[in-house]
Amino acid sequence: MSTADQMPSDVQFEITQRPDFGLLSVQLADGQQIFAEPAAMASMTPNAHMKAGMKGGFKKTLGRMLGGESLIINTFTAQQGAAEVTFAPGTPGDVLHYHLDQNTLLLQRGAFLAYTDGVELTGKWQGAKGFFSGEGLVLLKASGAGDIFFNSYGAILEVDVTDEFIVDTSYIVAFEDTLDYRVTILEGMKVSSKIKSFFFGGEGLVCKFSGQGKIWIQTRAVNPFLSWIYPFRPTKNNN
């Protein structure tokens, strides 16, 4: 489904149980490090040493926070020999690997799972189009050189955009920064049906990508799941 797996990598890894419950297991050589989002570790050998901390200074941390990630990044270091760490995101979905080579990848809020040394992760202000896309004002921006692992809700489809491509705003996982996007209303709709679509049709606002580059789309959106689970939530006792 994705060619990203054939990318070069700085770390020995394997992603299993794709695409529904992607599990990343990383083999660290003695002294090698990997950085991961909090609570992502599923299991590890005892010689993998974990340390929580902030990374990349105040500005980068703030950017990450606005991009829907935690203040904290966990560092796992192999001590006295090789170590294994497995990472699992909270969501049912896929895990993907991307090798950064001094280029930039933009990720949706909360999509980051882990990265290796050399990658810088911060937020990127999206302004009004971020607001309308429903993806938040800030996207996560990964740059530098190294491996980054990101996760989705549902499977990940990789699309090579050569001209233009339309994606519903809730399904974007990541895209290369060689692509530009704008939030738009679907073309060819009458004014009345534009309004209807917007309120009832669910397909009113879309992101139109243009340029050349790769885009990764998740096959499920989060909001329908949230509304489905709503009736199963406990009720507050306020009687």
């Binding site: 299993t16 149980q17 529904d20 419950f21 992607g22 599990l23 909090p38 609570a39 992502a40 570790m41 599923a42 299991s43 590890m44 050998t45 005892p46 993998a48 040493h49 974990m50 340390k51 929580a52 901390g53 935690s70 904290i72 966990n74 497995t86 699992a88 995101p89 909270g90 969501t91 049912p92 989060v222 799941f225 949230l226 689970i229 939530r233």
Partner: protein, 218 residues
Amino acid sequence: MEAEIADKPSFAHIRVKLDPGDSIVAEADAMASMSSDIEMSTRWNGGFCSAILRRVFGGESLFVNEFTTRTGGSLVITQALPGDMDCFELDGNTMFLQPGAYIACEPTVKLGLGWAGFASLIGGEGLFRLKVSGTGKVWFGAYGGIFSRDIDEEYVIDTGHLVGYDPSISLKVGMSGGIFSSFFSGEGLVTRVKGPGKVYMQSRSIGGLAAWTNARMY
């Protein structure tokens, strides 16, 4: 009896073909569909007392269903969670399963409740564990994919990811890092398992899904 686990890992379910004289025991409400030549009978999950104990502490149901057939037929057994299933065959040995992981077994398998110890409780895995022994196949399920590791010495597992293990495995609770790291890393306490033996883990946890969902709820 032929039994095959289909649609691993996300929507694993067991497709069972029973020949005359075969039977399979499954957790209550695990039957999804069956041909009309299958007969279902309900009985206590073990004895009355152990059934109640397992219900209250082991997260299992009070009753189990036994499926038999006179002419041969097929049925589909499933679990409530979207996730993986796996099967192991007991040969007089014992295995431990986390509460709720048991799905089905051959009628020759014995189900019991074992004390898992306070380490397990503090590690967030519950005070009791399900003990399966005897001979025959046991099917168990998980949320997420199931993966296993053969442990020689020690292995660290995050809370909520443990599914089952050999009786030779012992559980210890530990911190995931230093005090600061354990507290802020979101990993908190972890279970340190000591081998030798096999541990089955799940690639997602219900707790993780709940935390992720809660973070997006308003």
